[in-house]
């Protein structure tokens, strides 16, 4: 079955991203296709490569990056939400006059239409948030 996942909260403050990650992993293990993981609201903050969590704790961002690399996951960060919160890739940095970018491997920035498309194309959409 084709599934999409929406994540509305950033790393560490809320369990949402952890729950979404565990769910996504379990869905892949069960043989389902993940059409897309869409990061909205503070969820965009899951896509920064600048995090350095304590050594004895999980690395929320790397978890996503590595799962994406292993299973070719489409991790999409909403551009409008990202602009408000300071998550930028190279293109966004250039467009908005920023001197660098902080996006983590495996993530890409795109529009809200990608969320609607995920709703249309997927058999199920599951939302994780506050």
């Amino acid at each position: 079955m084709k599934l999409s996942i929406q994540v509305n909260e950033g790393p560490y403050q809320h369990q949402a991203s952890d729950s979404a990650f565990q769910f996504t992993k379990a869905a892949i293990e069960a043989g389902h296709d993940i059409f897309r993981v869409f990061f909205y609201h503070d969820g965009v903050n899951n896509g920064t490569r600048y995090t350095t969590p304590p050594q004895d704790d999980r690395h929320v961002v790397n978890n996503w990056s590595e799962l994406s690399a292993a299973h070719d996951l489409d991790l999409v960060i909403c551009v409008a939400a990202a602009q408000r919160r300071g998550l930028v890739d190279e293109g966004e940095a250039e467009r908005n006059g920023k001197d660098g970018n902080n996006i983590a491997p495996g993530f890409r920035i795109s529009g809200l239409g990608q969320l609607i498309e995920a709703g249309i194309q997927s058999d199920r959409l599951v939302v994780f948030g506050d």
Binding site: Y40, A80, L112, I116, L125
Partner: protein, 135 residues
Amino acid sequence: MSEVKKFLYVNRRAPYGTIYAWESLEVILIGAAFDQDVTLAFVDDGVFQLVKDHDTAGIGMKNFTPTYGALGDYDINKIYVEKESLEARGLTIDDLQHLIWEDEDEDWAEKDSIKVVTSSELAKLMGQQDVVLSF
């Protein structure tokens, strides 16, 4: 896209205290371009989003609520407000913005977009959706 799905947007949060109401509206407007079957539900504190006459100058935030008035132009006219949520908050439909749409099939007659429904009516309606986005 040939398939038309029933999309439900559930709005349960008050405006300004958190951004969910506003960013929900942004999804709804983008989603309107996809020609799906769109329904909006306002329950719990979400009913406060539709209250008239916001004046946000003092909190330094943008008043995004006039945009609800444009929903009709995007063919979004199935807007359900839960009666029990309104009553618990001392509100009536007269406290809310008057949202309208123009019916092409009836010579562009102006019609109300908001319907006040009971919990059980809304539960049934929610049960018929294909995709539920919650804010």
